[in-house]
């Protein structure tokens, strides 16, 4: 077992017990404030037929137990602050801690969304400034901050497209998405009541123009594109694509997942896109939180702007800010609201702090460094000993990420991309995105981001080389990996076959739980 450290980590290897399996009857953390109003017959306040018969079986634990439990299980997570996280398409860049500090100011964190607008001017100004910055970065003037995530922004975009065509008296059914697209694109199209038409990818990794020409017609509402795409390639034909799509009166939608490659260098609006969504949790450092929260604002051209969701942040002549229904024609034929209140303001604070910190030059530098890092790591992985097993799927250079194919590795070394990924865990790295995009055999999608050092990139490249060397000697090592993690490979098939998705709890004994008081 060369190179496979057999560390037993007693803390992490403890059998998992949930908080529901801990504690004892009567233990608690919360102390209820005293009843300071005159007591009234409970039944009078809430008739018995509306009352709960037995309390929900929540845990009974003290604060120290809560802290031990959750700190304990937190140690069973790998995280960005602990190590390299080159997860393609996810932009795992450093999350500056200043952002957590400023987002926690009571003036932001304890501000009620229905506070009178004249007493929420700081928040509205922040939103105004942020939407201005996003408009400038995208080259599209009209912004709505409302969508809650990238997928939500996409849904907004497709609904906007639909409303735009309907307003012109046209019913269009089809939305084109390349076969390299994120899964959210086709899923969104279906949710918006439209139909997906798949576009082929050409030999260079871009949109196949022949296929595009063959498929565009007056029934096409929109083309959804990521540029650079999920292969990490900037489509050199973008102007022609835009002109073909606009030629039949359709709109061009920009999936902003890969914006980190082009900030201050190229703008979707200048490429001919009509609608773009941003992922504030990718390019703009909102921490991913283990899978949310995110934020997915959208920006549009003037012809789409009338349909933007409501409400919008507006500025009055006296310079004050408000939430309104219309702004320079935007919102006049709104598709309506997409969620409660005004969007994920906490994410706006962090994204805005990031933009303030970097400024125009800093954003451009960030994208340049992201692209430099990706190309450097790619170069290291094209060295002998790696490239013959993990060739670059398309192109020569890349933008902020690149996709390798594990096909030759699988054939030559009998280990799959999944095995490589699992073995990387033992080396202390989060693996790249695997098996996406779908058109690359055994895909490995690597996005290092700008906040990693050369030393980290080198160490990662060396780890990959070492795993391949090791596999040439003994593929069983990778096939059995990981060895050092809190658990080893998990049986996902069994989990899906007979789903256990909650802890099974025993019915409480009458003496073990509430003894009447408060239950009515």
């Amino acid at each position: 077992m060369s190179g496979a450290p057999q560390l037993e980590l007693p803390l992490q290897r403890e059998r998992a017990r949930t908080i529901f399996q801990k504690g004892a009857p009567g233990r608690r953390a919360f102390v209820c404030p005293p009843l300071d109003v005159p007591p009234v017959d409970a039944d009078e306040l809430l008739p018995a037929r509306f009352r709960r018969a037995r309390p929900p079986l929540l845990p009974e634990v003290s604060e120290p137990e809560i802290v031990r439990h959750y700190v304990g299980i937190s140690k069973r997570n790998f995280d960005l602050d602990s190590g390299f996280y080159p997860l393609g398409s996810c932009t795992m860049k450093h999350n500056p801690r200043l952002h957590e500090r400023v987002a926690a100011f009571p003036g932001h964190a304890r501000l009620h969304p229905l506070q009178d607008q004249e007493r929420a001017q700081g928040a509205l100004e922040l939103m105004w400034n942020l939407q201005g910055a996003l408009a400038e970065i995208s080259g599209l003037a009209h912004v709505s901050l409302q969508p809650s995530a990238g997928s939500h922004g996409e849904l907004a975009g497709v609904l906007l497209t639909r409303a735009y065509h309907e307003d012109r008296g046209e019913i269009r059914h089809k939305v084109l998405t390349p076969d390299t697209a994120h899964g959210t694109n086709p899923a969104t199209v279906t949710m918006a009541g439209l139909e997906v038409v798949k576009l082929a990818t050409n030999r260079d990794g871009g949109v196949d123009l022949e296929d595009l020409r063959a498929k565009v017609d007056r029934d096409v509402a929109c083309l959804m594109l990521t540029n650079p795409n999920t292969l990490g390639l900037f489509d050199p034909n973008i102007e022609e694509i835009a002109s073909i799509v606009h030629g039949v009166g359709a709109t061009l939608y920009y999936d902003g997942a890969n914006l980190n490659a082009i900030m201050g260098l190229s703008r979707p609006g200048d490429m001919g896109f009509d609608i773009v969504h941003f992922n504030l949790h990718k390019s703009f450092t909102q921490p991913h939180g283990g899978g949310g929260p995110g934020s997915g604002p959208i920006a549009t051209s003037a012809r789409i702007a009338p349909f933007l969701p409501r409400p919008l942040v507006v500025r009055a002549e006296d310079g004050s800010f408000a939430l309104g229904h219309e702004r320079d024609g935007a919102g006049s034929k709104s598709i309506g609201r997409l969620r409660g209140f005004h969007g994920n303001y906490g994410c706006f604070v962090r994204a805005y702090a990031y933009i303030c910190s970097l400024g125009a030059d800093g954003l451009r530098d960030a994208s340049e460094a992201a692209v430099l890092n990706a190309n450097y790591l790619l170069a290291r992985l094209r060295e002998k000993g790696v490239a013959e097993y993990l060739p670059l799927a398309y192109g020569e250079l890349c933008m902020h990420e690149f996709v390798l194919s594990g096909g030759p590795m699988k054939r030559a070394l009998q280990i799959k991309t999944l095995d490589l990924a699992k073995r990387l865990l033992d080396f202390g790295f989060h693996p790249p995105t695997v098996y996406f995009p779908l058109l690359v055999e055994e895909a490995l999608m690597v996005e290092p981001t700008e906040t990693e050092t050369k030393e980290t990139l080198d160490a990662f490249a060396e780890a990959i080389a070492k795993i391949l060397t090791e596999a040439a000697e003994d593929p069983q090592i990778a096939l059995g990996a990981p060895y050092t993690t809190p658990v080893r490979r998990l049986d996902e098939v069994a989990a899906a076959k007979r789903p256990i998705i909650r802890e099974r709890l025993e019915e409480p004994t009458p003496s073990g739980t509430l003894t009447g008081e408060g239950l009515g």
């Binding site: 059998r15 608690r28 209820c32 009843l35 300071d36 109003v37 009234v40 809430l46 509306f50 929900p56 959750y70 937190s74 997570n77 960005l80 602050d81 997860l87 987002a103 304890r110 009620h112 969304p113 229905l114 506070q115 007493r119 929420a120 700081g122 996409e154 849904l155 899964g183 959210t184 899923a187 949710m191 009541g193 082009i262 260098l265 283990g290 899978g291 598709i335 309506g336 609201r337 969620r339 409660g340 303001y345 906490g346 303030c356 910190s357 400024g359 125009a360 790619l378 250079l397 699992k422 996406f436 050369k454 990981p482 080893r488 998990l490 789903p499 909650r502 802890e503 739980t513 509430l514």
Partner: protein, 454 residues
Amino acid sequence: MLAAIGVGSIQEIFDRQIPQAVRLRHALALPEGLGEQEVYAHLRELAERNTSAEDELSFLGAGMYDHYVPAVIDMLTERSEFLTPYTPYQPEISQGGLQVMFEYQTAISELTGLPVSNASVYEGPSAVAAAGYLAKLHNGASRFVVSAGLHPHSIETLRTLAHGYEMEVEQVPLRDGVTDIEAWTRAIGPDTSAAIFAQPNFYGAVEDAAALSAAAKSSSAVVNGSRGTPVVIAQVDPITLGILKPPGACGVDVAVGEGQPLGNRLDFGGPSFGFFAAREEYLRRMPGRIAGETVDVDGRRGFVLTLQTREQHIRREKATSNICTSQALNALAGVVYLTWLGRRGIVELGELLLARTHYARERLAALAGVEALHEQPVIREFPLRLDADVAAVKRRCAGVGINPGVDVHALTGRPEDRGVLLVAITERRSRADIDRLADALEVAVAAEREAVAA
């Protein structure tokens, strides 16, 4: 690094890939970057121009509430291990996050009395729309029937999304503060995909959830047996579920709601989380992430994302939803909060809110020019009708550091909501606070009536 890549400059990397015509020729028109101290000062200055729940005695609610967030939540949500990972795609190194999801699902299932919960969705109103989409996938019928007691943002969000998947939304009015059950029963027919109400409703009233569910189930079964009955969806306030009969015990099929009251900040409206729980038959149509229990190759207990064949990254255009992530960090706050409250605490808190809210309604409705809009049971919120302009009364109260509640007409735009003030009472508002509100409201309403008379 450039030598390894084989280029002379960073610019060359871009020049070789991005056509000149779409290169940006000028610097972005954004201010210059600032140092950490300057950004801190700027963000602080913006925060200070907001009047938060820390700065005034606030009775604002209508969807988000100023409940106390225990310190242990800040401490845990700020931990790198929870704050900075991505979605748990590699379960071997994501057991912490996956176990949190599993515990969260257990807590939500317990709270709602429904067997299956996902790992959370964006927030309350979009959860209602997502539940509507589930109903559409389930039975293919064409119309949603919604109670006017549903939060206006939920109704609007449902309408926006329903337009996409081509469904109609029909609204049923309230009577005496609760859903008019006769109109409700009449509105539900064979083409009804889902019947949706809120518990308690937007106007604070406790609905007869069991009666609404039963009416929905009975009214269409006869007509279109092959399709079955409409899906009954309730948007429920989780903080009331310590004392209120859970949706699962009231015949509700899908319970969704806004998770903010459970340990999440106000944050000017987000981020928070939406919860989504259902009967078992809907499991394979649920949107979003679901964590499941399994074992590893050594037989050790572990957790994974499961039933992923519902999801967009596998099913693409055939997915049950386009949603990618849950609101993991906010859901963590939610489950830690419920653990902190505990089995007894959630009941005690509910009883306290019930008693104080009752006291507040009695006290305020006794004032001159103020009356209760309805007499239904209320738990944490209630509406008053003022014989004065609500915005003007609010301005007067603000002068003495009190925010008396939400101007309902400004939110709903419904003509019948003119003059209606919605007052929310959390455990942070004591009897003394309520008495202070009563004094201020009395003075403000009297002054406003005088000003108008003069």
